[in-house]
Symmetry: C2
Subunit: 436 residues, 2 copies
């Protein structure tokens, strides 16, 4: 069979990894795919040829549109990132009847509905395994491996930078200190907003939710809260209570609609996912038939991400002559079978809570706080009064509550913050059992 020719847009971290993996494992991959897969063309404005394998076989230019227009190219691999010109390039590739593979989570989360509609029109595939959780084949697991199930919820550690920071904070280090190290190590960007404020995780969660529940991509409906307000004392108090704090993307089907939320979360420390450390990612999926399943691996990096990119290329190569209707639908469900389930506002979401506040060291304080919570119908599961800090006559009060609507918790917290014996703001972190 004729080799499949791939046009690579971008020779950065993931682009280099893709070239290297396809070159180094060419034989192994051809033995699987039944045909040779070769990067014939690549576009990059600037790149460092050091360490790149098989570059002599590739026609490199600096015009990505030239690759997309090249009739020799069967599959376009978009690894430029960002919205523009990535969107225009992908749409042009589709228009030219080429299949597309992308690792671009932002592009899929924001422009996926448009892109998949165009791809459907032209009968081509747009594959994006690498956009979620790097090398972990979670898109394939959700879309194909668990296709028997009504998915109940998915919870994932889907941002390695955030997980690295929280893991290091377990040793008592401060957020700012660890962030600086993450930047020095290259785990975090100079502007870390996308990672630490949860936007990157929200992009990925948007994609996961769509595939899990058969709903359109709705990034703008995702509740997003980062980890920049987590203090090392919260990590340590959570530990004393038997929990770990992880930055999770959570999407859940309820009778009222779909929950779609990214925020720091206390998880019981015995759960496997609570023990996923450093830059590693993990996604926990609860299906009605299979129960809980977990997928763990590297969520970023050159070759792990390339692993997902190349798997998508192999899938496309294998199904190149299939009827488009016989291919797996982009978003797992047939495009005319997408459901119009409402996405819940955060106020409609019910979780348990960890609360921490600074209170005056005097009698009756705990009773007043407990009364506010009781009046709001919120049950307390555990309460811990810590030693006063710096002999100030104030002390930290930490508690765990039972499940309650966010809306009710918001009012209760407002009332607690208004109490004279409570200083400053109440820190609130949601708690999830993540039980099978």
């Amino acid at each position: 069979m004729k080799p499949v020719k791939v046009g690579l847009l971008g020779l950065g971290t993931v682009g280099s990894g893709t070239l290297n993996v396809l070159t180094r494992n060419a034989e192994e991959i051809a033995r699987r795919a039944g045909r040779e897969i070769r990067i014939s063309h690549a576009a990059a404005k600037h790149y460092d040829p050091t360490g790149l394998l098989g570059l002599d076989q590739v026609e490199v230019c600096d015009d990505a549109f030239a690759v997309v227009e090249n009739p020799e190219v069967d599959i376009v691999v978009e690894l430029i990132g960002g919205y523009s010109p990535a969107r225009e390039l992908v749409l042009k590739a589709i228009e030219n009847g080429k299949h597309v593979v992308t690792a671009n989570k932002a592009l899929i989360a924001i422009h996926g509905n448009e892109i998949f509609a165009a791809a459907r029109e032209k009968g081509v595939t747009v594959a994006f395994e690498a956009a979620v959780a790097g090398g972990i084949p979670i898109i394939k697991a959700l879309r194909e491996g668990l296709s028997a199930n009504r998915i109940e919820w998915v919870a994932g550690i889907i941002n390695g930078t955030g997980n690295f920071i929280l893991t290091e904070m377990l040793a008592g280090r401060d957020f700012d200190d660890v962030l600086a190290e993450a930047q020095a190590l290259g785990y975090a960007e100079a502007d870390p907003t996308f990672d630490v404020e949860g936007i990157d995780a929200a992009h990925k969660l948007t994609i996961i939710a769509s595939i899990a529940f058969g709903i359109p991509l709705q990034f703008d409906r995702t509740y997003t809260e980062g980890i920049s307000k987590i203090e090392s004392q919260d990590v340590s108090y959570a530990g004393e209570l038997g929990y770990r704090i992880k930055h999770l993307g959570i999407t859940k089907r309820t009778d009222a609609g779909i929950e779609l939320r990214v925020h720091p979360t206390l998880i019981p420390e015995r759960r496997l996912i609570a023990n996923v450390d450093g830059v590693m990612n993990a996604v926990l999926v609860k299906g009605d038939a299979v129960g809980p399943t977990l997928y763990y691996g590297a969520g970023a990096g050159s070759e792990p991400t390339a692993s997902a990119v190349v798997a998508d290329i192999v899938d496309i190569a294998r199904a190149l002559t299939c009827d488009p209707e016989n291919r797996v639908p982009h978003l797992a469900f047939q495009p005319d079978e997408m459901a119009d389930l409402p996405i819940l506002d955060m106020e409609q979401v019910e979780t348990a809570y960890y609360l921490r506040m600074q209170v005056e060291d005097q009698p009756g304080v705990m009773a007043r706080i407990a009364t506010v919570l009781a009046d709001a119908g919120i049950s307390i599961e555990a309460i811990k009064q810590k030693e006063p800090e710096q002999g100030e006559g104030r002390l930290p009060l930490v508690m765990l509550t039972h499940r309650v609507l966010e809306k009710q918790m918001n009012s209760a917290i407002a009332e607690i913050e208004a109490l004279a014996s409570v200083n400053g703001q109440v820190t609130r972190i949601r708690v999830e059992p993540l039980a099978g």
Copy 2:
């Protein structure tokens, strides 16, 4: 589109689960598959209709061959188990041009090469996701999700009964005691040989190795050692050394050939897989590009296994009109691209070891043992002399060694057992770091 008609052979645990999942989630599954999937026929000698959903839509008979011969049936699902008549039924289904889904690990491990050759001849698919690790989509992950990788090794907890027993032994309970409970709970058969002696795990490992490395199925070359000789003191000493004992199936590519072995294994307790407890399964895969990835979930049970069976049915339904050459190869690699790599004898395998022996409580014993090991070129990593038991003048000596060829360890152990100051046999458990 016309519904896909499924003929179900067997209405036992997994058969009932398959019927129930396909009935309960019919709409969700059709939204994914793009067509209705319906169990139209079933064969069962005896079955209990209690709790079976949608049975009124199914034509049930007691002759499995009648279902296999029925021209209305598109896909035959074999859930009878055992070698015969499962083999004859599957071969007849293939001969009749039907696709086959099976959960039968023994059948695939022993007769897979014959079955896949026949399927290839007729251009049909034989799918077997449910044969390995129940509901975990590990076959799909290895065969498709990681297709970019040169797989280095796979290590899995792939027998839930064995893992349940070892988990309970962590609490200090004895093997026999826990086995009796596992039998009462229905986790273990009245004859537990397949589970506790590792044969079931060896069937699954045979399949994993074939898919990981592109080699023919070679069950008879798998080294198989069960957990029936593990004592609760070993579980507890391992814990003191920072390890957990798990019953693993391990297959690894080395320069000399492929390792294929099932045995109890000490794993560092911080590894996620060391914390997979109870009847749950997990498979850790090391790929050269992606690094380590882990897949966790229920390895057995009615609906978890049905989840895998139905996923296979959906895959087949989606690709029903595809060219057979465009489908994913049964064993991941194209049939004419299988490699003839040698399977190593256990004596050629190199691992680290945990050793426990009963020694006389007198000076010089430890020196004599250390000398035997030193003369055999075996380095000791840690050594612990325990308190004497029952004031007998004998005491347990526990040690960890560095990596050494099994052949060398065998001679060293024979020499140690011949020492007058060592009583009885040396207990030996292999140690694997399972590091990424």
